[in-house]
């Protein structure tokens, strides 16, 4: 019973990581460094709260999240693809804009500096167990199928072949008649939508937006992308691993065997180890960051 509870809790916690990491894989596969994941997620969370507040339904919340994600993706796409700005700098700027922007609009719209009022979420009424109630949330299921679906698309469809091609050898893809720019823009918008859904999950699950509620999850998702070597199946495993560590931390909080700060570090330390090549060489898509 403990084991099942642990597993369910891990899956629930993994949802935002899985969604954002799927976005990260796609974004980096089409050649754009996914440093802005944190910002995209947070914008999705804010959009979800706005949508759910005004539309008074969780589905409106999802629409709001997608709209907010699309706005931020447009900025990202225009800066990196049209103006060929440095992607690291743009990613950092996107994160700053969203952190400051959500605070600004939180005060403008809700007249609060810390959180939105309570908004609609996906019910779960009639399900006695709080843990099981989470699984009535469709975003959970979207999260659980997204990475496997992305893996299937990448390796089993012509679209996926093209995406992989523009990530490795855009010139070759272009010479075969692939519209590289259009595919990159499309890929970025899908990636942005996934990351925004990851943020929406947080806001709808907690029935409100709180300032900075993504709390580094975008960076952990990016860590999972690198740790999983840009391959959806491995990335999913990395996300589940990080989520399991977080679940363990929550369960151990009372016991205080290991300081929580050290548990927090796990994904970051693992990423550095992965990057240093100690668990096998990780090679980024060749065209990553070079969208000239």
């Amino acid at each position: 019973m403990m084991a099942i509870a642990f597993l369910l809790q891990t899956l629930r916690i993994a949802v935002p990581y899985l969604l954002a990491a799927a976005g990260g894989v796609l974004s980096e596969r089409v050649g754009v460094i996914a440093l802005g994941l944190e910002g995209l997620m947070l914008s999705g969370a804010f959009g979800a709260a706005l949508g759910a507040y005004y539309g008074d339904s969780a589905w409106a919340g999802l629409a709001g999240a997608l709209a907010a994600g699309a706005v931020m993706t447009t900025i990202l796409a225009v800066a990196t693809l049209r103006f060929r700005a440095n992607q690291v700098v743009v990613g950092v700027a996107i994160n700053l804009i969203v952190v400051a922007g959500t605070r600004y609009f939180l005060r403008l719209i809700f007249d609060s500096s810390s959180n939105s009022p309570r908004v609609a979420g996906f019910g779960g009424e009639g399900v006695g167990n709080a843990m099981l109630a989470s699984f009535t949330n469709p975003v959970v299921w979207i999260g659980l199928v997204t990475l496997p679906a992305l893996g299937w698309v990448l390796y089993r469809t012509p679209f996926g072949l093209r995406v992989r091609a523009i990530g490795e050898k855009p010139e070759a893809a272009a010479s075969l008649g692939v519209n590289v720019m259009r595919l990159r823009v499309l890929g970025l918008y899908i990636a942005g939508a996934m990351a925004a859904l990851g943020g929406a999950y947080l806001a709808l699950d907690q029935h409100q937006f709180t300032d900075g509620m993504t709390a580094g999850r975008g960076f952990i998702a990016l860590a999972a992308v690198i740790f999983g070597r840009w391959q959806p199946a491995r990335v999913a495993v990395a996300c589940l691993l990080f989520a399991a560590a977080e679940t363990l931390q929550i369960q151990l909080q009372g016991a205080q065997l290991v300081p929580s700060q050290f548990v927090e570090m796990i994904p970051y330390v693992l990423t550095i180890i992965a990057l240093a090549g100690l668990v096998g060489r990780s090679t980024a898509p060749a065209a990553l960051g070079k969208t000239e």
Binding site: I33, L35, I75, V78, A79, F83, R84, A85, N86, V88, V89, V90, V92, A93, I94, L96, I97, V99, A100, G101, R103, Y104, R107, L108, S113, G216, F219, L222, A223, I226, P259, Q261, F262, E264, M265, Y268, V269, T271, I272, L275, A276, G277, A284
Partner: protein
């Protein structure tokens, strides 16, 4: 005939090259500020306030009184350090996104040494030791991604971001469990001595946090400039940044340049921590970095990675940051944070665009010159 016309053409070409460089340096920040101003106006209007009133308040609260000026100079100090940190690594072609962690680590290093020095030690000895401790701690944190990049090819962008989280969590753990005053997240007061405040010299600044670390930061900017542009190792660093392969063939030990530049970069960020710990509060407090490390990226970007440009752009961002507090009564202070991010984004997009446009213009000018030369030459013969 042909000789004189060639020298005439190259004369005007070298003139246009100088103008080109000047325009490339000056135009992007101007474009960025204009975009930021427009977006700022829209945001202020969305809050139902008048932009003119908000900007007037911003100026009045920053450069309009000695306390405001002192606070701006205090923030300029930290931002100069983190801006230099980003720029130094940037000149070597590396992205140091880790100034936030290096800044905090530096401040902690200074505090830790300050707390362990004997209480009777004269400040004249203790303070320089603490400054060195800060720079060494920062350098240590900066060297890690440098070494990993040089040795394993690990992306320094990701490693520095991950290290930020690790360092901040580690410091939070040390301070919250071992080194704090009860009910706080700060260390006890350091007895090692403090650096003089600006207010100690000029009483009009009383109350503001500006202190002598400003002079250290300015000296660091001057030293960085001298080192980058007047020494052999500085030249090697820039060579690696421009063309690592060519530098390698030219006899530069590229891996060593990578990790030393990251270590130096970390040392500069660490110096920024002194501003808070020894210059202002006299203790280390968890979370004091507060984004100043990330803001350093913006500072370096607008300052075009040039030490003197960075001092000026640090002044600009410090003004925005302090200005946010000044206008907070009528619009949320995050307004100026958004403007900061907009400036980063616009500079990042304006720089390559302006370069492209200017080069295209220069190329067409050159082509026109050559054509004119050919027709005049043809007529003469």
């Amino acid at each position: 005939m042909s000789g004189s016309s060639t020298s005439g053409a190259s004369g005007s070409a070298s003139l246009s090259a100088t103008t080109l460089r000047a325009l490339e340096a000056v135009l992007p920040p101007i474009v960025a500020l204009c975009i930021a101003a427009v977006i700022g106006d829209l945001l202020i209007l969305s809050f139902g306030e008048s932009p003119a009133a908000v900007y007037a308040l911003l100026i009045k609260g920053t450069w309009g009184n000695p306390y405001g000026i002192g606070q701006v100079l205090y923030k300029t100090t930290t931002l100069t350090c983190t801006g230099l940190a980003f720029a130094l690594a940037g000149r070597a072609g590396l992205f140091n996104v880790g100034a936030e962690g290096q800044l905090a680590a530096g401040g902690f290093g200074a505090a830790l040494l300050g707390l362990s020095l004997p209480a009777g030690m004269p400040g004249l000895l203790a303070v320089p030791l603490c400054v060195m401790a800060a720079m060494l701690t920062g350098a240590g944190v900066g060297a890690v991604p440098g070494v990993l990049r040089a040795r394993f090819g690990a992306s320094e962008v990701i490693v520095t971001i991950m290290l930020n989280f690790i360092v901040l969590a580690l410091l939070n753990w040390v301070v919250s469990t071992h080194l704090h005053l009860p009910e706080t997240l700060r260390t006890p007061d350091i007895h090692a001595g403090t650096l003089p405040r600006l207010a100690d010299w000029f009483s009009v600044f009383s109350g503001s946090a500006a202190n002598a670390v400003l002079l250290l930061a300015l000296a660091a900017a001057a030293a960085s400039w001298w080192w980058l542009f007047r020494t052999r190792s500085g030249y090697e660093l820039r060579a690696v940044g421009l063309q690592p392969d060519a530098a390698e063939y030219g006899g530069v030990h590229v891996p060593r340049v990578m990790w030393t530049s990251m270590a130096l970069s970390g040392a500069l960020a660490g110096l920024g921590g002194v501003n808070f710990v020894l210059g202002y509060k006299g203790y280390y407090e968890d979370g004091f970095a507060g984004g100043a490390g990330f803001l350093g990226i913006a500072v370096a970007l607008v300052g075009r990675n040039h030490p003197f440009g960075i001092v000026l752009s640090a002044l600009l961002f410090a003004t925005l940051s302090q200005g946010g507090l000044a206008v907070n009564a009528i619009v949320p202070k995050q307004l100026t944070d958004i403007l900061t991010a907009v400036v980063i984004l616009s500079v990042a997009t304006a720089v390559p665009e302006v370069q492209r446009q200017l080069r295209a213009a220069a190329a067409s000018t050159m082509a026109a010159l050559t054509r004119a030369q050919q027709t005049s030459g043809g007529r003469a013969s």
